[in-house]
């Protein structure tokens, strides 16, 4: 299933999406299938699978550590695509990685590998729209969604430019900073949601970790809630991982469904 179809399906039920991020191969390649299935059982509508990079500048300590664990366990782009291809899932999968891994593999090959392994969208946190022409062209040609981030610091002019190039969903960054769970989701979220006027679904990420926060973000108008570090924290703990991932996904999805 691709991303637009998933959002149409959810919209028909007047429901917002839970988008779950984990780093592929963290802590081992074998663990990822069970983790992804647990997230989906709990209610994840879309799964973002991080392809770990050695120098993840947009990530906070939680996801940096996850990237480190995955790389130490031998994750690399070849294995990543094999792993993703082997997953038995019927939700859209999104690849989140840094630009050098795409550039080095070759843009065309990277996008074709995504399609072949069942990935329907790509997020590149260090690729602003100005530098994205080559990748965007290749994604459009191959019907892969290139998902851009919009930050509280993004100007109106830039928002227009990003909306012109993005597809799948818009990744709205709830606050300035790096990824990581926070107790407060900034007030800037609702302001940002109202500033971004588009029919493309809007998903909010960075800092969300509880059902209550998910509910608030949806009430502010989000079509999707992106949660990463809170799941990765559970994986890092190594305790009762899949059951707790499922429970957190359920809490978040329940929060989303409770939103008025």
């Amino acid at each position: 299933m691709n991303i637009p179809d998933k959002f149409s399906e959810l919209r028909a039920r007047d429901e917002s999406a839970l988008i779950a991020y984990v780093c592929a191969g963290d802590p081992t390649q074998d663990a990822t299938e069970g983790i992804v299935q647990a997230l989906i059982r709990g209610g994840a509508d879309i799964v973002e699978l991080g392809l770990p990079f050695s120098d993840p500048v947009a990530d906070g300590p939680t996801i940096q550590a996850a990237s480190g664990r995955a790389l130490s366990a031998g994750m690399n782009p070849d294995r990543y695509f094999e792993l993703v291809k082997s997953l038995d899932v019927d939700v859209p999968l999104v690849c989140m990685t840094y630009y050098n891994l795409i550039f080095k593999r070759g843009i065309e090959k990277f996008v074709l590998d995504c399609i072949d392994s069942g990935i329907s969208g790509i997020i590149v946190p260090d690729l602003p729209v100005e530098e994205s022409e080559e990748l965007a062209e290749c994604c459009t040609r191959n019907d892969v969604d290139l998902i851009f981030l919009i930050a509280p610091t993004t100007s109106v002019d830039r928002i227009d430019m990003i909306l012109e190039h993005g597809s799948g969903f818009m990744y709205l960054v709830s606050r300035v900073g790096v990824t990581g769970a926070r107790s407060d989701v900034a007030e800037s979220t609702s302001k940002l949601l109202s500033r971004v006027k588009t029919d493309i679904p809007k998903a909010v990420g960075f800092g969300i970790s509880t059902g209550k926060q998910a509910k608030e973000v949806v009430e502010d108008g989000a079509d999707g809630v992106i949660v990463g570090s809170a799941f990765v924290d559970i994986i890092a703990s190594g305790k009762d991982v899949n059951a707790r991932l499922e429970a957190l996904a359920k809490e978040l999805k329940d929060g989303i469904l409770l939103a008025k």
Binding site: P56, V57, D78, L127, P128, G177
Partner: protein, 395 residues
């Protein structure tokens, strides 16, 4: 305004930072020719940094190597290295732009120290990120920064060296972008940094132009500078780029050998043997594995120990305007001793690489009869490293 140098450069940063880069570029364009700004810059360069620095004729070296060798004495700049030229410029720019906080990365601690100096003087909250490994090998510089009121964070992630310090400084900037200026110390990072740092460091080459005309009545045959990120190199090269008869040599750290292992290079020679990629906001030549993961670099000198290089240097190398070359740890150490012994000047281990290349290449005639070496820093900070090495310790 172009954001690139040929195919290199650009702005590969998180969306959060794009407005800050635009604001910085706008601020730079507004103030770079502003008479008040220039007057203040001139005051600081002269009375705070101690410019201009001498162009010193090294008569003993010249005699031994059979060519006229001049040293551009950036080691005499306040703080002991060329780094202050840039931190003065960017510090003033940040002040004019209304920022109250500056963050910086540092490798050897020279840029951190130079940032601490201007941070203290201009009254900024100053935070410096430094790889934990570098903190260990440069304790004196850490203490100097602290003396001047700077908060030094030891970075424990990744290889715990310069590249990880840059990652952490970028993360800080992403988080505090409203009131904070990221004071990058080299000609690296996203546009407009490579341009701004180059421009502020060009004072080196501009002085050399006048000084060498006065002393020799002509431009040199060659200019030689050590290159990590490349700020002292661009600073002395840039005013000569259009003077096509002047050969430019960028000497990288050959480390303990030009090979790589699975996760690390034994050297820091990204210009010489790196491949095209994207690191820290710019497309440039970098040390990476076949998948594009960044390799850790190695050098005896913390200031050259970096997996990337400024995009403009990569461009100048591609079009054949400069020659990338390298000197290894042992050669640099030998040059460190030789300059100390022969001229009574103790060079930084970084600058020792430039000296070492001249000592290797002079006899071949490749450098011509008149050579200027950028003596980018003094070696006092490296004494502990050298003492440990000579006791048989490891780097």
């Amino acid at each position: 305004m172009t954001t690139s140098y040929g195919k290199y450069g650009g702005q590969f940063v998180p969306e959060i930072l794009m407005p800050a880069l635009a604001e910085l570029e706008e601020g730079y364009q507004r103030y770079k020719d502003d008479p008040e700004f220039l007057k203040e810059l001139d005051f600081y360069l002269k009375d705070f940094a101690g410019r201009e620095t001498p162009l010193y004729f090294a008569k003993n070296l010249s005699k031994k190597y059979g060519t006229r060798i001049y040293l551009k004495r950036e080691d005499l700049v306040h703080g002991g290295a060329h780094k202050l030229n840039n931190t003065i410029g960017q510090g003033l720019l940040a002040k004019y732009m209304g920022k109250t906080r500056i963050v910086a990365e540092t490798g050897a601690g020279q840029h951190g120290t130079a940032t601490a100096m201007i941070g203290a003087n201009l009254g900024f909250d100053t935070v410096v990120y430094m790889g934990a490994k570098d903190v260990e090998r440069q304790l004196m510089n850490v203490y100097r920064m602290k003396l001047m009121g700077t908060v030094v964070h030891a970075v424990e992630s990744g290889s715990k060296t310069l590249k990880d310090a840059i990652n952490e400084a970028l993360r800080d900037w992403v988080t505090n972008v409203e009131n904070t200026h990221y004071l990058i110390g080299s000609v690296v990072g996203p546009h407009p940094y490579p341009m701004i740092v180059r421009d502020f460091q060009s004072v080196i080459g501009n002085e050399v132009k006048e000084q060498i005309m006065e002393k020799e009545g002509r431009y040199p045959d060659s200019i030689v500078a050590c290159t990590g990120g490349g700020s002292n190199a661009m600073g002395i090269f840039y005013p000569f780029v259009e003077e096509k008869d002047v050969k430019l040599f960028a000497v990288e750290a050959g480390g303990s050998g030009m090979a790589t292992t699975e996760h690390a290079a034994l050297h820091s020679a990204s210009l010489s043997v790196g491949e095209e990629g994207v690191l820290h906001g710019a497309r440039t030549r970098i040390l990476q594995d076949k998948y594009g993961q960044i390799l850790e670099s190695h050098s005896i000198s913390a200031g050259l120990d970096y997996s990337g290089v400024g995009p403009e240097l990569a461009y100048l190398a591609d079009i054949g305007r400069l020659t990338p070359c390298h000197a290894n740890d042992d050669e640099a150490l030998e040059a460190f001793h030789e300059l100390s012994r022969m001229e009574g000047i103790i060079p930084a281990l970084e600058s020792s690489h430039a000296l070492a290349y001249v000592m290797k290449a002079a006899q071949s005639g490749e450098l011509g009869n008149l050579v200027v070496i950028n003596l980018s820093g003094r070696g006092d900070k490296d004494l502990e490293t050298v003492i440990n090495l000579e006791k048989g310790g490891k780097l």
